[in-house]
Amino acid sequence: MDIEKSDSFLITDCGSTTTKAILILKKEGSYRLIDRGEAPTTVEAPFDDVTVGVITAVTELQEITGRTLLDGNKIICPKRGPDEGVDLFLSTSSAGGGLQMCVAGVIKTMTAESAERAALGAGAIVIDVLAVDDGRKEYERIERIRHLRPDMFLLAGGTDGGTKTHLADLAATLLAADTKPRFGVGYQLPVIYAGNVDAREAVHDIIGAKMAVQDVANIRPRLEEENLGPAREAIHDVFLEHVMQQAPGYSKLMGWVSGEIMPTPMAVGRAVQTFADDEKANVLAVDIGGATTDIFSVFGDARTGEQVFNRTVSANYGMSYSICNVLKEAGIANVAKWVPFEIDEPHLRNMLRNKMIRPTTIPSSLSDLLIEQAISREALRLSLDHHKLLAVGLKGVQQQRSVSDAFAQTDSGGTLVNLMDLDWVIGSGGVLSHAPSRTQAAWMMLDGFQPQGVTHLAVDSIFMMPQIGILSELHPAAASEVFRRDCLIVLGSAVAAVGHAKKDGAPCLTLNLSTSDGRTISETVNYGQMRLIPLALGQTAQGTISPAKHFDIGSGPGRTREVKLRGGVVGLIIDCRGIPRRLPEADGTRRSKLNEWAEALGLPRVE
C-alpha cells in the first residue's frame, strides 16, 4: 500500500509495566490523536505472552473510540472499511527486560565511551563497560561477563591502522568468559565488532568459532571522528532477530505489525531529535518509567558547531520496579526532604517496598501521591547526573584555542549539558505525563533537573512519544502533526535564578514584561519564593529580567537579560529558591516552605 496515503494508525508501546495503544486518524485534512487505551503488560505468568496485553489495550481503545479495531483476537490491518481497522499497525517495546549489552573498548574514556554511546543510542541497557585501562584485573572482567550474561557484546577499540594487540586481548577476555546469552542454550553470543579494521582477522581467529561475530565500520576510525551509525544499526538488527524473538509472545507480535518493532528508547530519541531540529534548540527530554529512566539531550558542541544527540539509560532508576534503587542511591533523607508532611522512616520505606513488589499500583491518596513525586525528583536528579557524565565531547582530541578559550580553561571531553544554555525540557513517563496537575509535573522537573535561567517546559500529554517516534519513521508528516497538536503540552516558561542570598526575603529578580494580550508585569520576586504568573498557551511575554547582585539568569551575575517567555497550560514560573537547590534543614521549616511553594503554584497544602 502507499504509506503516504495512510490515514489510520494503531500504535502500541509495550512497556515493562503497561501496554499503551493509541489511535491516530486523519480528520478534515489533519492527523489527530483520537484516544488511547492501556492494559498491564503480560510478559509474565500466568500469561507469558505480550500480545494478551496488546489485545486488552486495543479492546479498551476500541470501546472508547467506537471504531472496530479487532476481529476476535486479531487486529484488523489493513482496514476493511472507513470505520473498520487501520492502515498501519506499529509497535515499540521495552518489555522483556530490554536489550542488555556489554561494551568494550581499548581506552575507557575514548573508544569504550564511544561504544557505550553507540549502544545507548540503539536503545540498549549497557550493563557494563570494559576497557583495557578500566582498573580491573583480567579475571575480574571475566567473572563479571560470566555473571552478567549479556544479550549482546559490542567490541570496539583502536583507530584504523592503530593498535591490534589490545583488541586481541579483549577478544581473549571474551573467549575466557565463554558466556552464553540469557536466552537460548546453544545459541552463540552475538558480538558486534566495531574496532580497528586491521584487527578484524585477529579477533575472528580468537572468538570466531565460539561466538557469532559481525563486523561493522570502526566507531572511532580516527581520534577526532566518531562514527556510531553502523554499530547502532547492527545492534538494532540483532535486537530484532534475537532478543525480540526470545521474549514471550514477541514472535507473534512481529507477525502482526506493519513494520519492525522498535526499542522504545530509540523511538523516543527519534521524536526528540526531530523536535530539536525543527526548533533549532537545545533540548533535554526524560522518559521516567517503572524500571528505567532514559534521558535524551540535543546540545550544540562548541568544538564542531554541530547539534549532538545523546541518550543515557539509567537502568535501575524508576518509579516501580526500581523505586527502591532510587531510595538506595539517593538515601532516605534525600527522598524524605521533599515530603511536605511528617512521616516516619520505617513507614516510608515499607510504602516504597510495597510499590516495588506490586509495581502496577497507583497512588490513591494525596499523601501517597506526594511521596511518589518526592522520589521522582531524586530519580530525575540521579539520572541527569548520569547523563552529564556521558553526554560529552570527544575526549583526547586536541583543540585549537583562541585567547578567550584559554581563559575559559575548558578541556576536551567536557559535558555538553549546560543547563543555562538549555531551551526546552520535555517530560515523559507515567509520573510526569499522568501527574494529576500539570503544575506538579513542572515542579518535579524544576527540582529534579534544576534548569537555569530561562527554560521552556513541556510534557508528553499521555506518554505517547514512543509511538510518535516510530510513526516518524514511516509517516513523518503525520508524526509531526500529532506531536505538536496532541502530544506536546507546553506548560510555560520557567525563570530560575542561579545563586543564593544570605537570607530569605532579599530581592532576587525584578521583572518588566509586556504580554501579547496587552498586560504589563512589573514586580520583584524575593529569594526563597516561587511565583506563578498566568500566561495562557499561545501567549508570550517579552521584556527584561534584572537579577540582584548575587544572582544570574544567563547574562552573568547581576546583569539584566532580555527575554521572550512562552505561556502554557501552567503559566510563567518564577523560581527564586536559588540554584543549586538548598532546602531548610529543620524539618518544620522545610515542610512549611514546601507547602508555601505549593500554595504559590496553586497546589493544595498537605500538613
Binding site: 510478559v43 470501546e63 585477529a202 524500571a291 520496579y321 513488589i357 506490586r358
Partner: protein
C-alpha cells in the same frame, strides 16, 4: 468495558506443579522419563569451562608477537602440564635459549600472532543440578535438563530471599503473634516455620543460625530486613542471599496479615515435607517465591492453577495499596467511566464491600484477585 485483568499469586491445595530444571550450559542428563526423584537427587551434570590462563609468550621469549606461532612446541588443542615448556627460542648461535612454561595444566585454546599471547584453558569444573522437588520426571530435555512433575499444594509469595531448600512445615504455636527472637528454638531446626503476621529481623537472624530451613509469614518491616542483610535491596532480584534461611513473604512489607485462605492451606499442610525457594524477580520474566508441598499419591483431579484473571462483580479481592492496604473484599461494581479520586487523577475504579463492612471505591490497579 474490556476485560480487566489483575495480577495474582497462585495459592492452591491441589495442582500439578511442573518444574523445569536446566543446566546453565549443555551437559548430561542422569535420569529418565518416569524416574521418581527426591529434592536432593542429582538429575543432570555439566562441566563448566575452566578459566583461561593467558600466557605472555612473546614477552617471555623476548620475541615479536608474529614469531610466537613458530616458536611453539605445541599446537592448538594440545594438552600441556603445569611447568611444561610450551615455547622456546634460541639465540646467539644456539648458545642461549628462552622458554615459556605453562603455569597450569590445561589445553591450548589460542595462539595469537597479534598479541603474542597463548591461552591455556584449565580443566572444567563440574556442576550438579538437583531435582529441588519430589516428583516424577516427565520430560528429558536432551543435554539440558528435565521437567519434574508432582501433584502438590502450591503457595506463591510476593517477595522472598534465600535459595532452594527443603524441610517439614511447622505452624508456630501462636501464629497470630509476631515471631520474635525468643520464639526460635533449636527444635525448629530443619523446619519451614509459618506465622500469620510479622517476623522480626532478630528472629530471622536467629532462625538462620539455628538451622531453620524456611520462614513463611505475612510481612516484615523493611528496615529490619535491610539491617539483617547489611545492604539495601535496590531492585527485586533475590535468591542468592547468604542468611542461612529462606524467607517467603505472602503479603509484603509492614504490618500485614497473611490472607486467610493462604494461612489455612499452610496450616493444613503442617507436618508434611515441602520445598521452599525465596528467589524473586519482579521484572519481565517474573519469578515469585514459593512453597511446594507434594502430595503422596496421584491427584488425577488436580488442575494447573492460574493466579490472576478477570475482575467481575462478585470477585474476591485484596486491596494492595494504602489506604486499606491488605483488606479483603468483594467487588460490587465495575463502573465504565473514569472517576476522580483524592489525588486529582481520573482513573478506572471498582466499588467493593470490604470484609470489615465498609464500602469503598478503589482504583482497579490497586487490587488483586484472590
Amino acid at each position: 468495558m474490556g476485560t480487566a485483568y489483575t495480577p495474582g499469586l497462585t495459592v492452591t491445595s491441589n495442582t500439578i506443579v511442573r518444574k523445569t530444571r536446566k543446566l546453565p550450559i549443555k551437559g548430561t542428563v542422569l535420569v529418565n522419563v518416569g524416574d521418581r526423584v527426591e529434592p536432593d537427587s542429582t538429575v543432570a551434570r555439566a562441566d563448566l569451562p575452566g578459566d583461561l590462563d593467558q600466557i605472555k609468550v612473546a614477552h617471555m621469549l623476548g620475541a615479536n608477537p608474529a614469531e610466537v606461532p613458530g616458536k611453539m612446541l605445541f599446537k592448538l588443542g594440545d594438552r600441556v602440564e603445569q611447568g611444561q615448556v610450551i615455547a622456546r627460542t634460541t639465540y646467539f648461535f644456539g648458545w642461549f635459549k628462552s622458554e615459556a612454561k605453562a603455569p597450569s595444566t590445561g589445553t591450548i585454546e589460542y595462539i595469537s600472532d597479534v598479541s603474542g599471547n597463548v591461552g591455556v584453558r584449565l580443566p572444567p569444573r563440574p556442576v550438579e543440578l538437583t531435582a529441588y522437588v519430589q516428583g516424577t520426571v516427565v520430560e528429558v530435555i536432551p543435554d539440558e535438563g528435565v521437567v519434574i512433575e508432582t501433584p502438590a499444594a502450591l503457595v506463591q509469595g510476593i517477595f522472598g530471599i534465600g535459595g532452594e531448600r527443603e524441610g517439614r512445615l511447622h505452624v508456630m504455636p501462636e501464629p497470630d503473634r509476631t515471631i520474635e527472637e525468643r520464639d526460635i528454638t533449636k527444635e525448629l531446626a530443619g523446619r519451614i516455620i509459618i506465622g500469620r503476621r510479622l517476623i522480626t529481623g532478630a528472629a530471622l537472624r536467629r532462625a538462620g543460625q539455628t538451622g531453620v530451613v524456611g520462614v513463611v509469614v505475612g510481612g516484615i518491616v523493611d528496615k529490619e530486613l535491610v539491617d539483617l542483610l547489611g545492604y539495601e535491596i535496590g531492585v527485586a532480584i533475590t535468591g542468592d542471599e547468604q542468611v542461612g534461611v529462606t524467607l517467603v513473604l505472602t503479603e509484603g512489607f509492614g504490618e500485614i496479615e497473611m490472607a486467610h485462605k493462604t494461612f489455612e492451606l499452610l496450616r493444613s499442610l503442617e507436618g508434611r515435607d515441602g520445598s521452599i525457594n525465596g528467589a524473586t524477580q519482579i521484572r519481565a520474566g517474573v519469578i515469585r517465591p514459593e512453597v511446594i508441598v507434594p502430595h503422596p499419591g496421584s491427584a488425577s483431579d488436580a488442575t494447573v492453577a492460574v493466579g490472576g484473571g478477570e475482575l467481575k462483580i462478585g470477585s474476591h479481592i485484596r486491596v494492595i495499596r494504602e489506604p486499606n492496604f491488605g483488606h479483603l473484599g468483594t467487588v460490587t461494581a465495575l463502573p465504565h467511566e473514569l472517576v476522580l479520586i483524592e489525588t486529582g487523577a481520573k482513573v478506572r475504579v471498582l466499588r467493593a464491600d470490604l470484609d470489615s463492612g465498609e464500602a469503598v471505591v478503589v482504583p482497579r490497579a490497586n487490587v488483586e484477585l484472590l
